[in-house]
């Protein structure tokens, strides 16, 4: 399970970084989205991978810490998802504005001279 998660995060980060460095705005935004998915999974993984363990204490306190998930990373992931979503949407608007103003989807606003 850890291996699958680690490979997943690695592949997404790798593709995200590659896309982020591409010259088209669409590639950049997809790269940023992939990176943010990878980071969200990473934060989630920091809390440890457990199955059938609620992040809520049973009545009467903790019986067995192994049957309990840390709720903090989950809360962090939720916040990170919301903020990432909002900023990506904002970036999309700027991307469209740039396309409209310059007539090209190159990140520098003009095609590279050949």
């Amino acid at each position: 399970m850890e291996l699958v998660l680690a490979i997943g995060i690695g592949v997404m980060t790798g593709s995200g970084v590659w896309l982020l460095l591409r010259p088209r705005t669409y590639q950049v935004i997809v790269g940023l989205s992939l990176l943010s998915y990878a980071v969200n999974l990473f934060i989630f993984g920091v809390g440890g991978i457990k199955r059938h363990a609620p992040p809520i204490l049973p009545e009467g306190g903790i019986a067995d810490p192994a049957r309990f998930t840390d709720p903090v990373p989950q809360a962090l992931v939720l916040t990170a998802i919301v903020i990432g979503f909002a900023t990506t949407a904002l970036f999309l608007v700027v991307l469209l504005a740039s396309r409209g103003l310059t007539g090209t989807d190159h990140v520098d606003g003009r095609e590279q001279s050949k």
Binding site: L20, L32, S36, I83
Partner: protein
């Protein structure tokens, strides 16, 4: 404590949040009402910030500092979220409020009409800045950072135009990537130490087992990179000069304090987490800051000399200022930190004043005014001329006033006597050469010579560039068009420069405050104790919370 002083610490976050929300609801046509509300809110922020500063600088016992801790959910520190106001945060709050007031008044002359929701974005930017200065835990730092960044994206694009959109596109992409690094760093730190509270983190780091330290240091390094992007350390700063040049003048002025937020966080976390008490990890990253800061200064100094446009000159001055601060933090001694804090206040005020001044000076050369006219047209603002008359009277003796302000900016940036830029640089250099006070024969660190040389050379390059630009602007103009400058636009510039004069005259008491601040930063035990021992408020009899 009374109700008001108890809740004073959260006011710098609540006031702009509420005001920003109210301003969204008001129609764009009611500009006067919006401006009034915005100015009142910023004035209130200034009053609150000064009150907080007075509260934390009150000396109750010698050597003991006061840290105001505000528990947001009334839970004690490592479990609940806390706001912490100490001397450094209070100083940053006052600085932010002063800059905000100046750039807001400046924007009222014309810039706030160049696009929708200027005041809302401005207030939310202030909320993010104040929150980031006050927060006591890492994740809230992220949240406030994002609030600030989201508002800054909007403000950078304020006024629109291809140049701004292009700079904005780069700025947003760089900052989104930095935010992701921030998250990776925070989650690594949480995974190792199990806490996000800064004070708790500082207490846990010395007890970490050896094998976990590599991961912790990696986490802190990743986190540091995110802030160094914001602060503009070479080679993470190529986005900064174009973005700051493209921004509207009042926006660029408030952005000057935004770069200092990156420096603030680096300073706070480095000294808190990796001070002497961190044992094995003590001093982690300080060399990177010292040498990185020095390279940034050199890069900025070359950029300043190479700049043709005034806007770029100011952008590179931001880098010189950040580089000096980072190198001083990396130096890691109390005296240098105190001098660096003085330098931070002085250079932030100067650069903000300079950004505002550039707009006025360039108006005479027509380039800036044309762009503004076009954007005004795009928003269908036909009655611009009439409103200009309402807003204020044209300034008499404009060129003389502009020239004097320009000269003062030059002196401040170059660090020449008699103004505060000189005192700041002198304070830093003097404690580098005399770490234990005058007369002691402690060996001078070899890097001191490099750092001092860079501080002086960066001042020299600022002097050359400012002289050249000044001659070209004020003496060699062939057409001789006198820019039409309103008193209202000149007043904020004069206010900011007057503050640097005050900083010079009151140098002794300001330095005393900053030396105490630096001592608290380098020996953070009282900060940690105050945060960790703060007690939640007991519910009173009769159900009153």
């Amino acid at each position: 404590m009374s109700f008001w002083s108890e809740h004073l610490v959260i006011a710098p976050i609540l006031i702009p949040l509420v005001v920003g929300a109210i301003l969204v609801l008001l129609d764009e046509k009611r500009r006067v009402a919006k401006s009034m509300i915005s100015v009142l809110s910023t004035l209130a922020l200034l009053v609150v910030a000064v009150q907080i500063m007075r509260y934390v600088s009150a000396v109750h016992a010698p050597g003991a500092s006061v840290t105001a801790v505000y528990m947001l959910g009334n839970w004690p520190a490592p479990f609940g979220i806390v706001l912490v106001a100490d001397r450094l945060s209070a100083m940053m709050l006052v600085l932010t409020a002063l800059l905000a007031l100046a750039s807001l008044i400046f924007s009222l002359a014309r810039w706030h009409k160049a696009g929708p929701h200027f005041h809302t974005l401005f207030q939310l930017l202030l909320m993010g800045l104040n929150g980031a200065f006050l927060t006591g835990d890492l994740f809230n730092l992220f949240v406030f950072f994002e609030v600030m960044l989201a508002a800054s994206y909007g403000l950078l694009l304020h006024g629109s135009g291809p140049a701004r959109v292009k700079a904005g596109l780069h700025y947003i992409a760089v900052n989104l990537a930095a935010a992701l690094l921030f998250l990776i760093g925070v989650s690594l730190i949480y995974g190792i130490t199990g806490t996000l509270n800064m004070a708790d983190l500082a207490a846990r780091i010395p007890e970490l087992p050896h094998e976990n330290r590599i991961l912790l240091e990696a986490g802190c390094a990743v986190l540091g990179v995110a802030f160094l992007v914001k602060a503009g350390m070479w080679p993470l700063n190529f986005w900064l000069p174009p973005a700051y040049t493209a921004a509207a003048a009042p926006v660029a002025a408030i952005f000057a304090v935004m770069s200092k937020l990156g420096v603030y966080v680096i300073m706070r976390l480095s000294l808190l987490l990796f001070g002497d008490q961190a044992q094995e990890s003590a001093g982690f990253g300080f060399d990177v800051l010292l040498y990185g800061g020095m390279i940034t200064m050199a890069f900025g100094a070359v950029g300043v000399v190479a700049s043709q446009a005034l806007g770029r000159l100011a952008g590179y001055s931001v880098l010189v200022s950040s580089g000096t601060m980072l190198a001083a933090v990396g130096w890691g001694s109390t005296g240098v930190t105190a001098g660096a804090l003085f330098y931070m206040v002085s250079s932030t005020l100067t650069i903000a004043a300079f950004f505002l001044l550039i707009e006025l000076v360039e108006r005479g050369q027509d380039a800036g005014a044309n762009v503004l006219a076009v954007t005004m047209e795009a928003y269908g603002d036909a009655d611009e001329e009439e409103e200009d008359d309402e807003v204020g009277v044209a300034m008499p003796g404009t060129l003389a006033a502009l020239g004097i302000c320009f000269g003062m900016c030059g002196i401040l940036l170059a660090g020449l006597p008699p103004l505060s830029g000189f005192i700041a640089k002198f304070a830093m250099m003097s404690s580098m050469f005399n770490p234990a006070g005058l007369g002691s024969d402690l060996a001078i660190r070899p890097s001191a010579w490099w750092l001092v040389a860079l501080i002086i050379l960066s001042g020299l390059s600022a002097l050359i560039a400012m002289t050249r630009a000044g001659i070209r602007t004020f003496w060699a103009s062939i057409e001789g068009t006198v820019p039409r400058v309103l008193v209202m636009e000149m007043a904020p510039v004069i206010l900011l420069l007057f503050l640097t004069v005050m900083l010079t005259l009151e140098g002794g008491s300001v330095m005393a405050y900053l030396e105490e601040t630096a001592r608290n930063l380098h020996v953070p035990q009282s900060y940690m104790n105050d945060v960790m021992s703060a007690q939640p408020i007991k519910p009173q009899e009769g159900g009153q919370p």
